[in-house]
């Protein structure tokens, strides 16, 4: 049992990631704001559709705060908030006449989130939506400071939730299923190329129990590559399904989609190459060398090109894949265990695959002898 502990760990982490990934609720979210364009100064009512909320009790007790953040230090606070139903809010703002101090560019040169509509309530926690409304130009004079309210801290309470992001909605949970496929693929292919290098470095020793160490390394390399390729194919199919329902098409010719498809084709060619040799030694030697080239192609394809070119995927423009915005702390506690679980599952399946083929090779060697 001692050497099998990691399989129990894999099963436990897998169960945990499924349970936590599916059961932890999404935070409250804002799906729509109407009107999206405010043309006149004066009292304006914003109609909000929200997700995963029940604001009625909060609204009756007067426990909802809402504001339109114009920049880091200025906001317009809602005068009144009513909840016609659990998933609807009506809030009244007093829009001042004159120029509003909206920050067009955020401090880190990214797209500005302002005007940022923020809501905090006792039972439903904190939620916000970026660029919630647009304002028509209302005169050249600066709006009076008396129209604005002080920025106070809005808290999410002690709720444990995954963030609600528009368009993504519940599919944010795919992070625990789609992304570990790619992490797992990378690690399995790394193990595969290590065995290929070991194959090439290993001296041709006398065979032990029918096959020698070199043959064993070659079998291990191709077994890990096949499960790695399986993970990659599952990653690309699940990605396509996710993309269809968020980006609008199964395949948007996004740079990361394209480069990962090329990477998969390179590894499919590895198996085509292996299948095309009659002689086992020749097959093992040439496919080991090909495997090293294939793995070194993965780095630019999956880690360099997608970060240089604009992509729909997070992590474009030079940043590592996850910024603090893309992955919050609650998500980390589910995501990393999921990655470890799927890696361990992959190692397990690969080693089963390899052991079966080693036995097969031994039996065949015995039959020939």
């Amino acid at each position: 049992m001692k050497k099998h502990w990691w399989k129990l760990l894999a099963a436990g982490l897998l169960l945990y990631s499924f349970a936590a990934g599916l059961l932890i609720p999404l935070g409250s979210g804002i799906k729509g704001v109407a009107p999206s364009y405010i043309q006149q100064a004066g009292l304006t009512t914003l109609q909000l559709t929200t997700y995963n909320t029940d604001y009625r009790a909060d609204a009756q007790a007067g426990n909802i705060k809402a504001r339109l953040r114009l920049n880091d230090s200025t906001a317009l606070c809602a005068k009144s908030v009513v909840a016609p139903s659990g998933n609807e809010l009506q809030m009244q703002f007093d829009i001042p006449a004159g120029k509003l101090p909206i920050d067009a560019v955020a401090s880190n040169n990214k797209k500005s989130p302002f005007p940022l509509l923020e809501i905090a309530s006792t039972q439903n926690g904190y939620t916000s939506v970026q660029s919630a409304v647009a304002f028509a130009p209302m005169g050249d004079s600066i709006a009076p400071t008396s129209a604005f309210c002080a920025i106070e801290a809005y808290s999410n309470g002690d709720r444990m939730t995954f963030p609600f992001l528009n368009i993504l909605e519940e599919t944010i949970r795919n992070l625990y299923f789609h992304v570990p496929m790619w992490f797992g693929m990378m690690l399995l292919l790394l193990i595969s190329v290590i065995y290929s290098i070991k194959y090439l470095r290993q001296a041709n020793t006398v065979s032990k129990g029918g096959i020698n160490a070199k043959t064993r390394y070659d079998i291990l390399a191709s077994s890990f590559a096949s499960v790695g390729l399986l993970y990659g194919i599952l990653g690309i199919i699940t990605g396509a399904l996710w993309a269809k329902n968020t980006w609008g098409a199964y395949w948007s010719w996004d740079v990361k989609q394209n480069t990962s498809a090329v990477a998969l084709l390179i590894y499919m060619a590895y198996f085509v190459l292996r299948g095309s040799f009659e002689d086992n030694d020749q097959k093992a030697r040439i496919s080991s060398i090909y495997n090293i080239f294939a793995f070194s192609m993965l780095i630019p394809l999956l880690y360099i090109i997608p970060r240089v070119v604009d992509s729909l995927h997070p992590g474009m423009g030079g940043n590592p894949a996850f910024s603090s915005y893309d992955l919050d702390n609650t998500m980390r506690w589910v995501f990393y265990p999921a990655v470890i679980a799927w890696i361990l599952m992959g190692v397990w399946i690969s080693s089963l695959h390899a052991r079966i083929r080693v036995v097969e090779a031994r039996i065949l060697a015995k039959m020939e002898a």
């Binding site: 499924f18 599916l22 999404l26 997700y51 995963n52 993504l168 909605e169 519940e170 599919t171 949970r173 795919n174 299923f177 789609h178 496929m181 499960v227 399986l230 194919i233 599952l234 199919i237 699940t238 399904l241 996710w242 269809k244 329902n245 968020t246 609008g248 199964y250 599952m345 399946i349 089963l352 695959h353 079966i356 083929r357 036995v359 097969e360 039996i363 065949l364 015995k366 039959m367």
Partner: protein, 71 residues
Amino acid sequence: MKSIGFLFALVALQCLPMDLLAQAPESGLMQSNGKIYVVIGVIGIILAGVLLFLWRLERKVSELERLHNEQ
């Protein structure tokens, strides 16, 4: 032979009118309930893929048993 069949299937898939596969935005099962069915679909694809792989592995074991019995 198998791969030729696969190629034919791919070509046939291209010939399907795309409207059949396309889905109107903001409606349908996938878009309902906060798109949770997309997550179910993703989990289903992964489980199906892993099970298919294990099935193929089992066929290898059967082949192995056959070889062993012949010996």
